[in-house]
């Protein structure tokens, strides 16, 4: 019988909160065996990270472990004094955080940070430590590690930085690695590589991995067993295959069901007609956006040449009335820039956008009319609602600005109606945004978008800040509204599954260029461009579970 590397029993983490006590983790128990990858899933706030923090002993004050025990190789560690716990960190338990951009100290070279860590834990000389650091980097998949070791973090890309973070976590050969959302800040393509590295490392070193994530796809591809958490409690534990195929608890079932799949949805979306039809409702023609870079501030007062970065390069597509066009592409490919030009936020360098035959960027009369037609739903429901305004005022702003409704009673009636449409009780009118959950806020945002009675709505990552379960509700609502009012959507997402589920045709952006464009099924089933193929391959999907 092998002893579990990590054994958690009835763990309780509490936050004393004013006069109250808040239980972030409430009686969690599970084990991790050597060489095993255990995935911890659950929606945001379920207590996943807190469990990880408890294991490594880094719970932020005033949080503290209020009960239960944590054992490492049978040895109880949760009640050790701080100094003794600190000795475990790095040496016996390694940790990988979500964001590679902020996990490394920007002022030290990658090598310095590695050598420092190695020498803290192992009795080696400077030179030996450096050699080991190079080896580690190479192992984590940094090409030409010996040359890159003296680089600063900012000279690495996000994916490379995350590899460095992983190298740091395994530097001292820990028995357990806690990885808290190690890939959620990365593009799908990079994410796939990191997952591979992580998996390879744990087989090579025989380390146990606790993989925290809310992405079921990642779990499906990486983990052996999984733990489903909900509101601080473990809902279900078992092998990944078992749980995904045969979830037992209602919560797990709901979670699994709300995951969109990239597989073709039966009966969904009719094939769209050919692109660039001149009669289409929305037409985007040869859209270009150049950004001036470098030399801000005072330099602008001086003459001289300006460097230009082309964020969007001659993008053209069109959308049928009442249909959804999905725009995909990795981070920085120019999706949001396109969206901003289409809604009239960013002036295009060249190109034309027409909605129902009206040029969005034409000056002169009818400006307001055009404004009315196009609306936008944003990615972050926290930032898209003015925190100082009441919900009623937020939703009423478009009506007031565009003169759709003027007197108070009328405005209130309309706001109430809109709230009902997005399935919110009208009494919430008097609340402030921070009093809502993320999903509810996104509903408010949708209500605001509907308030000007638009026909065309641009949705820039409308659900990427939301949990899968909430995402499903918002997407459903969007579909319902589309059916109800014949809305036209431009849906921007890096989540291919979402796009596949929602849109009738798709465009793939890469470095500002539209590399592919056509009916959804055609592109997903039979991609033409290499880039599209690469994107599709990289998507982790629960259906790929072994």
């Amino acid at each position: 019988m092998t002893e579990p590397v990590l054994s958690i029993k009835d763990l309780v983490v509490e936050f004393p909160f004013r006069d109250d006590v808040f239980r972030a983790v409430d009686g969690v128990s599970f084990d991790i065996m050597p060489g095993e990858v255990v995935g911890v899933v659950g929606e945001s706030g379920a207590g996943k990270s807190m469990t990880g923090s408890a294991v490594i002993g880094l719970i932020d004050r005033p949080g503290h472990i209020a009960g239960g025990e944590i054992r490492l190789k049978g040895e109880r560690i949760d009640n050790l004094p701080e100094a003794a716990r600190a000795k475990l960190r790095g040496k016996r338990i390694g940790m990988v955080f979500q964001d590679p951009l902020t996990s490394l100290n920007p002022l030290y070279t990658v090598g310095d940070q590695l050598v420092e860590t190695i020498r803290t834990h192992l009795p080696v000389s400077e030179a030996e430590a450096r050699q080991k650091a190079i080896d580690l980097l190479a192992e984590a998949g940094i090409p030409k590690a010996a040359e890159r070791i003296d680089s600063y973090p900012h000279q690495f890309s996000g994916g490379m930085r995350q590899r460095v973070v992983i190298a740091l976590a395994i530097a001292a050969g820990p028995e357990l690695i806690v990885a808290d959302e190690p890939t959620s800040a990365l593009d799908v393509s990079v994410q796939a590589q990191i997952i591979k590295v992580l998996k390879k490392l744990c087989t090579n070193h025989g380390a146990a991995v606790m993989l925290i994530t809310h992405d079921m796809g990642v779990i499906a591809q990486t983990a052996d067993r999984m733990v489903v958490m909900h509101q601080g409690k473990v809902v279900e534990t078992g092998t990944v295959g078992d749980i995904i195929r045969r979830p037992r608890e209602p919560y797990t079932i709901k979670l699994i069901n709300s995951i969109p799949t990239i597989e073709r949805k039966d009966g969904a979306a009719t094939p769209a007609p050919a692109a660039n039809d001149d009669g289409a409702y929305v037409q985007v023609k040869k859209l270009v956006k150049d950004y001036e870079i470098g030399g801000g501030g005072f330099l602008k007062l001086m003459p001289g040449k300006v460097e230009v970065f082309r964020a969007v390069n001659e993008v053209s597509f069109s959308i049928e009335k009442g249909k959804t066009f999905g725009l995909v592409g990795e981070s920085g490919s120019g999706k949001s820039t396109c969206a901003k030009m289409i809604v009239g936020l960013v002036r295009p360098t060249s190109g034309q956008i027409t909605v129902d035959g009206h040029d969005i960027w034409a000056s002169g009369a009818g400006h307001q009319e055009r404004r009315k037609r196009v609306q936008m739903i944003f990615q972050d429901p926290y930032a898209s609602l003015n925190p100082r305004w009441r919900v009623a005022d937020i939703i009423a702003e478009p009506m007031r600005t565009l003169g759709i409704a003027r007197n108070r009673g009328e405005v209130d009636d309309r706001v109430a109606e809109l709230l009902r449409r997005v399935r919110l009780d009208p009494v919430v009118m008097r609340k402030f945004p921070h009093e809502f959950s993320g999903g509810q806020r996104q509903r408010v945002a949708i209500a605001r978008a509907l308030s000007s009675q638009p026909e065309f709505i641009v949705c820039d990552e409308p659900t990427s800040a939301l949990d899968v379960s909430v995402q499903a509700q918002v997407l459903d609502l969007m579909s319902e509204l589309q059916a109800e009012f014949g809305l036209t959507y431009l849906l921007i997402s890096h989540n291919l599954a979402v796009v596949r589920q929602m849109s009738s045709s798709v465009g793939v952006l890469h470095n500002g260029v539209l590399v592919e464009n056509g009916p959804t099924d055609a592109i997903f089933d039979n991609p033409q461009a290499d880039y599209t193929r690469m994107l599709l391959d990289a998507v982790p999907d629960i259906s790929k579970v072994a």
Binding site: G45, F298, L301, L345, F378, Q379, D380, S384, E397, V427
Partner: protein, 319 residues
């Protein structure tokens, strides 16, 4: 956040609580109640402000009315009666003015100058900061460069300069009436840059936020966007700087008055009182210096403490 609405149509139930109750439950009230030093500071500040506001009714004498003064009351020690038969709790000064009353009236002047100067700096700094942060580009560069220049000179130096200009521009016989306003403008102009910098930073952050984009999509006038959307969201830091700036303005006023370029000595502020009192440090009339000095420090300290608390209460991350 952690509760999952069971059906998509689930209505959100709003508990009907009064605003007052919500205010009492808010973070800011909580952190106030749990900071004894802040409570003391606010009580001291409040007392001083009340003393200033109600000076005409509370003060035993009116030191700003020369007609009521009797020179023979001069230099009466605290808690005693002068030759002329008047009682002085905190003693009297070289002009026979009651120190307690001059402090009350002086507080009025100091607070008025401090508040108005801070308000002026605030309005100026916030407007420039909003514009710089929102419009960006060359305008931003120019405004911020001016702010840099301003910040590189200590406020006192700038205030001295502005005072100098004003003295040159205003005809001599109107200078005294204008002195308070000149002080206000001088101190205000010496302190706007802090506001501008902070507001600019905050505006640049807010400007990026999607709620601003949402308003812009509607074609809302940029001025309205700034005023109605951005401004309310930068009030936190402005309030904090405002409070600390107030303490600073009060000290600056005192220092200027100490250097002899402040309000007229017949209507002394705390700083003028200290300047006058300082002459009597060695001659044994310590009360003329000590009491105004203590009042000034108490005022500045309590306002600073409040500002410090506000900074933490509003945003633990704020510097």
């Amino acid at each position: 956040m952690s509760d999952l609405p069971q059906t998509t149509a689930a209505p959100v139930v709003v508990p009907k609580t009064s605003r007052w109750k919500m205010f009492l439950r808010s973070d800011i009230v909580w952190s106030y109640r749990h900071s004894p030093i802040t409570i003391v500071a606010s009580i001291v500040a409040l007392l001083l402000v009340l003393m200033a506001i109600f000076a005409p009714w509370l003060a035993p004498y009116n030191p700003f009315n020369p007609a009521t003064l009797n020179l023979m009351d001069g230099f009466t020690p605290p808690n005693s009666t002068s030759f002329a038969g008047n009682y002085f709790a905190l003693g009297s000064d070289s002009q026979g003015r009651d120190v307690l009353s001059t402090i009350m009236y002086g507080l009025r002047v100091s607070l008025f100058v401090g508040l108005m100067a801070t308000l002026f700096a605030m309005v100026l700094g916030v407007s420039l900061g909003l514009v710089a942060g929102y419009v960006g580009g060359a305008l931003d560069a120019v405004i911020m460069r001016i702010a840099d220049v301003q910040l590189s000179f200590p406020a006192i130096l700038i205030a001295l300069l502005i005072f100098g200009i004003a003295r040159g521009i205003i005809p001599p016989n109107q200078q005294e009436g204008a002195a308070v306003w000149v002080l206000i403008i001088a101190i205000g102009l010496a302190n706007w840059a802090q506001f501008a910098r902070t507001v600019r930073g905050a505006t640049m952050v807010e400007r990026q936020k999607d709620y601003v984009a949402a308003a812009r999509i509607l074609g809302v006038n940029p001025f309205i966007v700034l005023l109605r959307h951005v401004l309310p969201n930068v009030t936190g830091p402005v309030l904090v700087i405002g409070t600390i700036g107030l303490a600073l303005a009060i000290i600056e006023e005192a220092t200027l008055s100490f250097l002899g370029v402040g309000v007229p000595p017949t209507q002394p502020s705390l700083g003028t009182l200290i300047r006058i009192g300082q002459q009597f440090l060695f001659s044994g009339e310590w009360w003329i210096l000590l009491f105004p000095a203590i009042t000034l420090v108490l005022l500045a300290l309590s306002v600073n403490l409040l500002g410090d608390w506000l900074r933490d209460a509003l945003n633990p991350k704020l510097r």
